[in-house]
């Protein structure tokens, strides 16, 4: 098996075993969305209007929750040292870790989003819009968040710093994700442009994320 496939497989196994991040992220997402109607009140019209935004905020916070362990776990058990020393370029190793994180925590968010959308009184098109935008936008959350995760591990005890670092980076993704999802709910005439920008943000993260994270890890390990 190639080195990268082995790394992806290991991270997926760890995420799915007891105490791993996959289920935690999805449950946290569920928690946020369930809490929202209690805070807003049982106003179905209002919930339908702000539903896509609630789902996006929930997905963003849930992905942030699990990003914290992306490099911290490998740093604590010493794996990161061996990964940095290995023949696999660190950029590719970071990309593989991001892919595993997205598969383990991003995809479950996309899959449970339709169920949660029902709880927020979203109809078919709106539900489809949220699922599509989450599918296109969660890679950006993971890839840009990875930069923050790498910076946070190189500053000792940086765990609490991670949300502060990552939230500003996530703003563009959130803006275009919610705009596209709302457009889909309103009939979809202006869905294309924000959705394209959302895809572009994910591609931007794909290019920048691994290099920035690897550079941060190389500088900061000691």
């Amino acid at each position: 098996m190639s080195a990268l496939a082995a790394l992806i497989r290991r991270d997926l196994l760890v995420a799915w075993r007891v105490g791993g991040g996959a289920l935690i992220g999805a449950l946290f997402f569920l928690g946020i969305v369930v809490l929202m109607p209690f805070a807003v009140g049982p106003d179905l019209v209002l919930l339908k209007k702000i539903g896509p935004a609630i789902l996006w905020i929930g997905a963003m916070l849930a992905s942030l929750l699990t990003l914290d362990r992306l490099f911290a776990a490998d740093l604590e058990d010493g794996s990161l040292d061996l990964i940095v020393m290995s023949r696999t370029p660190l950029e590719l190793a970071c990309l593989a870790k991001a892919l595993a994180h997205w598969l383990a925590t991003g995809i479950p968010l996309v899959l449970i989003a339709p169920v949660l959308a029902l709880m927020l009184n979203l109809d078919g098109p709106a539900m489809l819009g949220v699922v599509l935008t989450l599918l296109a936008g969660t890679p950006a959350l993971t890839l840009l968040g990875m930069i923050g995760a790498a910076l946070a591990v190189t500053l000792r005890r940086g765990g609490l710093l991670l949300p502060i670092l990552v939230l500003p980076l996530s703003i563009p993704t959130l803006i275009f994700g919610v705009i596209a999802a709302n457009q889909a709910a309103d009939g979809g005439s202006a869905f294309g442009a924000p959705f394209s920008i959302l895809c572009a943000l994910s591609l931007f993260g794909l290019v920048v994320g691994p290099f920035a994270a690897a550079a941060s890890l190389r500088q900061g390990l000691d």
């Binding site: 497989r9 040292d81 061996l82």
Partner: protein, 199 residues
């Protein structure tokens, strides 16, 4: 093959750990780095492994694989064993074998039985004792072939059997033309040069 360092200086957190350090170790030889706590033993190993930048000085490897960097030719066994508690003993070793690759080491099962863990291969690593975790880390040394071994306190947590096992592994590695740099408090039962770090 010859690994040498010249005029190495390491400053950490504004404190000079060691300065103007020279060492050399050749194929089939072991270098035993000794010194008090905080004398810079681990820092020296991490500098050789490329995990820490030396403040001054250079590390050279002559006669190694020209297509590989020095860290790529090293095994690094630190005080953390690089094990995932959620994975089984075999899965942990298998991962490092697949990820580090590039060498023709022992098979996964062969390495585990060499360190006496063959009966625990399906046990999650979280249930291992400190000594058993060490043994699993030692299995990595033989499952993947690397010419240079950097061992940081390799005897820590090992029982008498485990220490004998480690000695056997190190002797075999040296006879096969390998090279070892070990930081240790306990004397290792192999012929070794000593490099004493004075604070």
């Amino acid at each position: 093959m010859r690994l040498s360092g010249s005029d190495l200086t390491c400053v950490r957190g504004g404190r000079e750990v060691f300065a103007s350090l020279d060492f050399a170790v050749t194929q089939g030889e072991a270098l035993c780095v000794t010194g008090r706590n905080g004398a810079g033993k681990s820092s020296l190993l991490r500098i050789i492994a490329g995990l820490l930048a030396a403040t001054a000085g250079t590390i050279r490897l002559d006669g190694g694989d020209a297509e590989r960097t020095l860290p790529e030719q090293c095994h690094f066994l630190g005080y953390r064993e690089a094990l995932k508690p959620a994975l089984s003993v075999r899965e942990n070793l298998r991962f490092w074998q697949d990820f580090l690759g590039g060498g023709t080491g022992e098979s996964c099962a062969g390495s585990l039985s060499a360190v006496g863990l063959e009966r625990l291969s399906e046990l999650p690593a979280s249930y291992l004792s400190a000594g058993q975790r060490r043994r699993l880390a030692l299995a990595r040394l033989i499952a993947v072939t690397r010419p240079i071994w950097l061992l940081d306190e390799p005897t820590a947590a090992l029982d008498a059997d485990g220490q004998a096992l480690l000695t056997g592994l190190m002797r075999r590695h040296l006879q096969a033309g390998g090279l070892i740099v070990a930081a240790t408090h306990d004397p290792l039962d192999i012929p070794a040069r000593e490099l004493r770090l004075e604070p």
